[in-house]
């Protein structure tokens, strides 16, 4: 998507549209930590000339950097997934007190349905908690416009603004009017920093002075919400009036086509007057929104009677909405909508369809780690990344996972409390720099005795392969300092350290055995092996099964490789299928060859 002079209607994802809106708003600095569904925003923005866009090591760092840029007078953007806001929340809550220099927008990309997240929290609560506005686009065109407007609002009201997207907004494409000037934007250089210690330095005495400003600002925003273009009434048949936001609006306007709508683009603060006036004009008031009854609670607090999810639970509190869920709810509530013709819902012929769980790729460096951890029956405190697949069959070798970086702390706590098992924490390179460093420091400081395995695959793979402090490349493609994990851990004082090749199955096993044999101090194993999607990855000659030697013991299936399949031939004694390898999928990592007890596999040169 290259900037051109003419205006055209293009299909853009919500994320691309947010990037475009930020660029149109003149954003100078943007920082993010990757996380589905927000990840694509920064790479899109990074392509626009004149914008500095960076991967931060975590979300708090991303927001802090954006705050610095804003205080220095540059419009700034911080981007993260919903749970990332938890990490950044410490800064965010006080940023509400300081307000901004130039406009500052925080994009929170929520994940109703938890398609690729550890929870499905509803981040609109942060807007109320922190007392700053929340804007919610319902398609890509709005994603662009609302982002632009968010910057204006930020400056107008001296506040951070949260733009809340969801998976369905971020990852859907719809038409956007794109018009761009031919020339790249020229930024004037910033003037020297304007010092406002009573605004920007939140010592208690200053914070107490700022708090009344926050309350006053919120009142001003509530007035603005009554008349702003973000909130809009579409009058139709007044028998039913629907209040909705975000993607829920798109479902509602199909299922309840022809009725009246109050579409809220700003969901905090909410417009009491507008809602009351709308309610007064319609016979039956309905609120349709995903996840928590955030709008509905407010509507009820105004003393209005409403059909929603509180009490009768016509609409679900959990998961994504859909046309079907909105239709079902509307029907149950007795609203005048058509049911889908029954033929479409007729039961289909029954067939047991095997599930298709995610698997580690053929050649994945994480495979040998979980294979061995299982073999050695370790208790595993896991973390977030591709290696979370270690919890699924055939490994089923992860016992806890809660948030990024937590593996090390959980392992430490379990052990300090007296857990008799041998405990290993497993954490990826990106996650290590996200929150693992401080967790490891705490383990070392507190005379911890756990083993930490840092799985350095040279990328942030789970989210699609972003660079991070250990890779030596920035988001905008510059070469930079590689922060060496081994040296870092050594500098933290860990003496018992192993560095192993991920594709050396026995080497990994030996390191785990040796490290966990030490029971009076912390140990670290750095496992090096490139993710198959990185440029460092090298394909090697494929592995083939010698059908004569293979007896169908099935041991190699336990490495969980998608390239290893059951063949049609059964082992004479085992009566179980012999293995075969798909040569198109095999990368020649040889993990299966190394574990085959009968040496029935060979590498074809």
């Amino acid at each position: 998507m290259n900037p051109t002079g003419n205006s055209v209607r293009q299909l853009l994802s919500g994320n691309e549209a947010i990037a475009l809106g930020a660029w149109e708003a003149g954003v100078r600095y943007a920082s993010a930590y990757p996380g589905t569904p927000s990840t694509e925003i920064l790479p899109a923005l990074a392509q626009y000339a004149g914008v500095r866009a960076e991967w931060a090591s975590n979300e708090k760092v991303a927001l802090d950097a954006a705050v610095g840029a804003s205080f220095a007078g540059a419009r700034a953007l911080a981007v993260m997934k919903h749970v990332g806001v938890n990490v950044a929340a410490d800064s965010l809550m006080t940023l509400s007190y300081t307000g901004v220099g130039a406009g500052l927008v925080l994009v929170s990309a929520d994940d109703p349905g938890a398609f690729s997240s550890q929870n499905e929290q509803d981040n609109r609560h942060y807007a109320r908690f922190g007392k700053f506005p929340c804007l919610e686009p319902s398609d890509s065109q709005e994603a662009k416009e609302f982002t632009r407007l968010a910057f204006e609002l930020s400056e107008l009201f001296d506040t951070p603004v949260m733009l809340r997207s969801t998976t369905r907004i971020s990852h859907s494409k719809s038409g956007v009017e794109v018009s761009m000037p031919d020339a790249p934007r020229e930024f004037e250089s910033l003037p020297p920093f304007e010092r406002h210690p009573r605004k920007y330095v939140m010592i208690p005495a200053h914070a107490r002075l700022r708090h009344p400003e926050v309350e006053a600002r919120l009142k001003g925003l509530a007035v603005y919400a009554e008349t702003c273009a973000l909130n809009r009434v579409d009058w139709g048949d007044r028998r039913v009036g629907v209040i909705c936001n975000g993607v829920a609006y798109q479902y509602a306007r199909e299922v309840l086509a022809g009725f009246s709508f109050l579409k809220l683009g700003m969901t905090y603060p909410l417009p009491a007057g507008l809602i009351r006036d709308f309610a007064a004009e319609v016979e039956t008031l309905v609120v349709i929104e995903e996840l928590d009854p955030f709008i509905e609670e407010y509507v009820r607090s105004l003393g209005l009677d409403v059909i929603g999810k509180i009490g009768d639970e016509f609409f679900p509190w959990t998961g994504e909405l859909s046309l079907a869920r909105v239709r079902e709810g509307a029907l149950q509530a007795g609203l005048p909508v058509a049911s889908l013709d029954s033929a479409a819902q007729s039961a289909d012929a029954a067939l047991a369809i095997p599930p298709r769980p995610p698997a580690l790729c053929p050649g994945c460096p994480h495979r040998s780690v979980y294979f061995n951890l299982r073999k050695l029956k370790m208790l595993v405190a896991g973390d977030i990344g591709c290696y979370a697949i270690g919890v699924l069959p055939p490994f089923e070798e992860m016992d806890m996972l809660i948030s990024m970086g937590a593996s090390i702390g959980m392992a430490h706590g379990a052990k300090q409390a007296g857990c008799p098992d041998k405990v290993v924490a497993t954490i990826g390179d990106s996650t290590f720099f996200h929150a693992g460093l401080s967790e490891l420091a705490s383990t070392i400081y507190n005379r911890g005795v756990t083993c930490t395995m840092i799985l350095d695959n040279g990328t942030t793979a789970m989210t699609g392969g972003q660079d991070n402090p250990a890779t030596g490349v920035t988001l905008q493609g510059e070469t930079t300092q590689v922060i060496d994990i081994e040296a870092t851990v050594r500098a933290m004082g860990v003496e018992h350290l192993w560095v192993v090749d991920a594709l050396d199955v026995r080497g990994v096993e030996a390191a785990i055995k040796e490290a966990t044999a030490i029971e009076d101090r912390p140990t670290v194993i750095v496992v090096n092996g490139a993710c198959v999607f990185t440029p460092q990855f090298r394909r090697r000659p494929v592995v083939t099964v010698d059908r004569e030697t293979c007896n169908g013991c099935g041991f190699c299936f336990r490495v969980g490789c998608p390239a290893i399949l059951k063949s049609d031939e059964l082992g004479a004694k085992t009566k179980r299928p012999k293995a075969q390898i798909d040569p198109l999928l095999c990368t020649g990592c040889t993990v299966c060859l190394q574990v085959c007890p009968r040496k029935a596999m060979y590498q074809t040169a």
Partner: protein, 198 residues
Amino acid sequence: MNQGTVNFLFVGVGGQGILTASDIAAEVGLQAGYDAKKSEVHGFSQRGGVVESHVRWGQDVGAPLAEKGTVDYLIATETLEAARWIEWLRPGGMVLVNEQRIVPMSVTVGDAEYPPDADILTVVRARTDDLRMVPGLATAERLGNPRLANTVLLGVLSTRLDVPPETWLEVVERRVPPKYVELNRQAFWEGRRLAEDV
């Protein structure tokens, strides 16, 4: 609003290029003068899991996803996935199935079985007679690159829609790297030929 909306559902396995294929279908819709939306589910599912992508063409498309039971064209790039998603099809809608089996991990490491093609087709036929099995992978391999299979499928699909093939090709060419343009053209026309000889 439902009236006149054409719903496509592309389903398959992570890594099969579903997202590009559905992007192309959405862009063709826009180029042909429709309002178009597309929505995909990916993330954890990329690692060999199920991938689904919806495309809708219409005068004014609201929801980015079709409703279960209203899909007009179900395009499965993997055979088993046609059965998994069949409930999304409108009775009588069209199903396009790429003849390619990708065995799920639950079959390799567990007791689940990959059902025989005949069983899969029975399930599909219970909902529609309009079924096309397409040797997409075989055709693509013959052309020299297995990744062309989706373009073959798009070629077949294009014969069922009222949009000139040139529009499809224009979008395909915009979306693929220059050195693959010619191969993709061939794959697209192969698909159209396959659609003709029943």
